[in-house]
């Protein structure tokens, strides 16, 4: 089975590629460039096209399939029009599937399930990354606030931290919010 993966995000494409490579009898082609997309698809002549739902080339691709269905092979979108659940899962994960020449639906199903799992894995990776970045930024803010308190009040680092925590607990807010307020106040008062 020849599968084309169309994704402008090379890192996501490689995650999907890696997952699908586990399946037997599969040839994978990854397309990350928008330019020349149709020519490449024509060249590859895939049985299945997996494309990211947010890809702006989807209308271009559908037009191509509509026309090519008129002249040559049948196109089915997704697995089987009656398989609402699979389609819903695929849209939730952000993947759209085109089955080009009416492959057996049990074979497509395993491809689709795997693609959905890989798309979800990628989404998790992204949110973990965003969370890690957020945590890092939070720690920097707290460090900054500690330095400000140490300098202006002449306290030690543990004392500065204890003060932030006390204030946070007494006002039921997060330490980072208190730290943020300290930093902002310091900037307003002319600090750097």
């Amino acid at each position: 089975m020849r599968i084309a993966i169309v994704d402008e995000s090379a890192s996501r494409a490689s995650i999907i590629e890696e997952g699908l490579a586990q399946l037997p009898d599969i040839e994978l082609f990854v397309l990350t460039e928008r330019r020349g997309l149709l020519a490449r698809i024509e060249e590859i002549a895939p049985d299945v096209v997996l494309i990211d739902l947010g890809n702006p080339s989807r209308d271009v691709l559908e037009e191509y399939f509509t026309v090519s269905r008129v002249v040559a092979r049948p196109i089915a979108m997704f697995v089987d029009e009656s398989d609402e659940e699979a389609i819903g899962a695929s849209i939730d994960a952000g993947v759209s599937v085109y089955v080009v020449d009416g492959l057996a639906s049990n074979r497509i199903r395993s491809v689709l399930d795997l693609a959905v799992r890989r798309f979800n894995a990628f989404a998790r990776l992204q949110s973990d990354l965003a969370e890690a970045k957020g945590k890092l930024a939070e720690r920097e803010t707290v460090d900054k606030a500690k330095r400000i308190l140490m300098q202006s009040k002449g306290v030690t680092e543990p004392e500065a931290y204890a003060e932030l925590r006390r204030k946070a607990m007494s006002s039921s807010r997060r330490i980072v919010d208190i730290a943020e307020a300290v930093v902002t106040a310091h900037e307003l008062m002319g600090g750097e």
Binding site: P56, E62, T66, E81
Partner: protein, 404 residues
Amino acid sequence: MTEHLTIGFLPLVDACLPILAHEHGFAEEQGVALSFQRDVSWATVLDRLLYGHSDAAHLIAPLAIATTLGRGRPAQPLATPFVLGLNGNAITFSPELAAKVAEPGKLSDPVRLGAALAEEARARVAAGKRLRFGVVHRYSSHNYMLRYWLAASGIRPDEDVEIVTVAPPFVADALETGEVDGACVGEPWNSAAVQRGVGVIVLATAQIWRRGVEKVLAFRAPVLEARRPAVEALIRAMRKAGAHFVDQANWETNAEILSRPEYLGSDPKLILGAISDRLVLVQGAEPVRYDDFMFQHREAANFPWVSQAQWLYSQLVRWDHIPYSAEDAEAAARVFRPDVYRSALLETGDLLPGASSKVEGGVGKLTAVTAQQGAMVLSKDTFFDGRTFDPDDLERYLDSLRNG
């Protein structure tokens, strides 16, 4: 109790009415809360609508008909109780093509430009490199307007030129790289190409059909029935948003709102141009005013005339080269739901046409028409070639188009 509706949209100026209904509190006033799902392709907007990610969608009108008839994907009945606007698109040529066949800096006369283009198209066919035009989707009014104009100008859209799909945000790129020689697209994407110096606006689609149906608000038919009170509340809110939108005093505020990253994410100056019917046609030139470039509110602009749906069906038959079918024609006509529009607005004092269908292109000058309440005046709605479309005579219309 507040009902909640999620609306899918593409970043285009004519997604404005639901957005402004939300931003200015008109929706809330009517007891309906809105949230939005922004996408970049019509295929995705449609997928999300069909599989319940969104309750309603900003959609190109012909796609609502095509989906109902099962063209391109399995058939699912859609229902359109509200037209989001008429026209608002333009045709932009590459500077080279514009210099050859148009007068850059002026909106062309569609008949003269069509004749000059026909000559150029023939020359290009002879040279073995056909002119190529981009439209945003196979089932778009852009495609139908462009083809209507080309065909009436003696250019066969499928033989003498090539028409391909280009996503709106990439129209300027496609012009720059020579992938296309021209495109028909909505704002702000024509202006974006002009701003970059890679395109020249030569024609507004309103010059082809003065009151051409453009985007609609589409629901899945069963969802429309199940959520009828919320749908009607939304219609009332969007009518209020329309009155706000066309009031000059609000233009700048609304351009600012629409330009935000969560909506269009684009230059407020370009959006203001479309809102105020003022277009910069060539890079660096002063804007040119074209009245009713976009038409969002007056003269029952939002009323889903059944005859508009039937005209769209006639073009689908024409350009998909499929036989006319009375059954399909009826299914297509049923997509537009003037009954829902009426029942939503009956108590509000808003103007409602007495009929649900009209001869399209038949109003040559200001005409008073029967209204359910008040008096309603319609202005010119003509096609550039002077043809009219009588929905009761759909088959004969198709024949007349075939025979020139």
